[in-house]
């Protein structure tokens, strides 16, 4: 083989070996690096990570600068007229009523001696895993720790505080949230009417359905009705009981009498409007118990 060709092969080989080694090392240390990288990016590079969200708002706010003074004055007059019309129609606008309801629910959050509430904004969300999780702009500086419950409101469930997920990892000024639809989300749940407990995603053999939550280890003695509300049980050391998770869609075992299963399992429709969630409330436990 000519010398130059063998040199090319050597270069290719060494390049490929180095690349393969790099990939293997990255794959092996992925979990550790993920944690480290999350801390680094979210602590030191937080302003840059927040740039996309801030850019969105800045672009929306600054668009008015493109107009001249006269145009702006005309626009203000026009808007004032429109405003008066809107004011008269406010009673008929369902959306405003819904938003009003949301804000009222926020204000009427049941006061608990064991936790404080802080509002947070969603800053990063994966478009391909939209409902599985998100990152919020509150972190350990605000008292957020891993396991902190993330709450929201849904006009379909007026007056109910809904569990949207739990904090998976917390950095100084941001935290990553695992939503109730994440297959790794695992907490105990309580059915009020049936007066029984179950475990969300407790049985890994259960088939996962998109947009539905698995619940298992439900008592066979209890009677369940479809649509029954499912709440947090309060067994977790950071998640207080009584937050709505969703409503029962169906039980998996139809023939309960002749079934050999010791427990029942079922599907829950989440109450949290994960599609359109922009703001959430974090419940910071004051004196969390250490396990």
């Amino acid at each position: 083989m000519p010398k130059s060709k063998s040199r090319i092969f050597e270069k290719w080989n060494s390049g490929l070996i180095i690349s393969a080694l790099l990939i293997v090392i990255l794959a092996a240390s992925f979990q550790t690096l993920r944690r480290a990288w999350f801390r680094v990016t979210n602590n030191f590079f937080y302003p840059y990570v927040e740039v996309p969200a801030q850019g969105k708002y800045a672009a929306a706010d600054e668009s008015s600068r493109l107009y001249s003074k006269n145009e702006l004055a005309a626009k203000i007059t026009k808007l004032e007229t429109a405003n008066r019309i809107f004011a008269s129609k406010v009673a008929r606008f369902g959306e405003l009523t819904v938003e009003n309801e949301k804000l009222r629910t926020l204000l009427k959050l049941p006061k608990r001696s064991d936790c404080n509430y802080i509002a947070a904004e969603i800053i990063i969300r994966d478009p391909l895993f939209w409902k599985e999780g998100f990152t919020v702009n509150r972190g350990t500086d605000d008292g957020v720790i891993a396991g902190t419950p993330v709450l929201c409101f849904n006009p379909q469930y007026p007056g109910q505080v809904i569990l949207a997920g739990v904090v998976k990892e917390a950095a100084r000024r941001s935290a990553r949230v695992m939503s109730v639809l994440d297959p790794r989300f695992r907490i105990s749940a309580y059915f009020e009417s049936a007066d029984t407990h179950g475990i969300i995603n407790g049985d890994s053999r259960q088939t996962l359905i998109p947009d539905e939550i698995n619940i298992s280890f439900l008592s066979k003695q209890s009677k369940f009705t479809p649509g029954e509300k499912c709440f947090t049980s309060g067994f977790e050391h950071q998640i207080p009981g009584g937050f709505l998770i969703g409503s029962l869609k169906q039980l998996n075992s139809k023939d309960q009498v002749f079934s050999t299963q010791l427990y029942l399992s079922g599907k829950i429709i989440p109450a949290a409007p994960l599609d359109s969630l922009n703001f959430v409330v974090l419940a910071i436990t004051k004196n969390y118990r250490l396990l």
Partner: protein, 176 residues
């Protein structure tokens, strides 16, 4: 200069992808940047940026199994294939843009099909619109990106995408 330029391009594309992602739009801009770098500069730079950008996206989005990194690496291979086939003209970028967008989303399909094996129809319903959108947009975006970066590259005297064939011949002559 080249390194700084690549860093700037990739940073802008990375943040743009995050920004559009916050609006629930999956636009694979980083993969287009990696494709450009692989063709215009070298596949070695392509692999470096594929690993770095893919890894960063995986970590920012908290994705499993290095999904994005895995999807970026075939784009480098595809870029080298296109370069060797001498398909680096501007009009060739339209199908290439569509293909790399598809390459970028295939691991997500695979992951979802493995996670929810019994509900392929629902996965189709959820992912098909995002896939079509990404493919169409990237087919239009890649030629635009090539145009913009080639124009800038020409001004600052850097290798260009549309002249990559010439670079490849020069490299071969140098090795032989």
């Amino acid at each position: 200069m080249l390194y700084l330029y690549m860093l700037l391009v990739m940073l802008i594309l990375f943040w743009l992808q995050l920004l559009l992602g916050c609006l629930a739009l999956h636009v694979p801009l980083c993969i287009a940047g990696i494709f450009y770098i692989s063709v215009a500069y070298s596949w070695r730079y392509g692999i470096f940026w594929a690993v770095l950008a893919g890894f960063s996206l995986d970590l920012v989005y908290d994705r499993e199994f290095l999904m994005t990194t895995v999807s970026f690496l075939p784009a480098v291979l595809f870029a080298e294939y296109r370069l060797r086939r001498d398909a680096v003209r501007l009009r060739n970028c339209v199908p290439a843009g569509a293909v790399i967008a598809l390459l970028g989303i295939i691991p997500v399909w695979a992951y979802k099909i493995i996670t929810y094996p019994a509900y392929t129809v629902t996965i189709f319903q959820n992912l098909l619109p995002a896939t079509i959108f990404a493919v169409c947009l990237n087919a239009l975006f890649l030629p635009f990106l090539v145009m913009v970066l080639d124009e800038t590259g020409e001004k600052i005297k850097l290798p260009q995408f549309t002249k990559a064939g010439k670079r490849l011949i020069e490299e071969r002559l140098q090795y032989n």
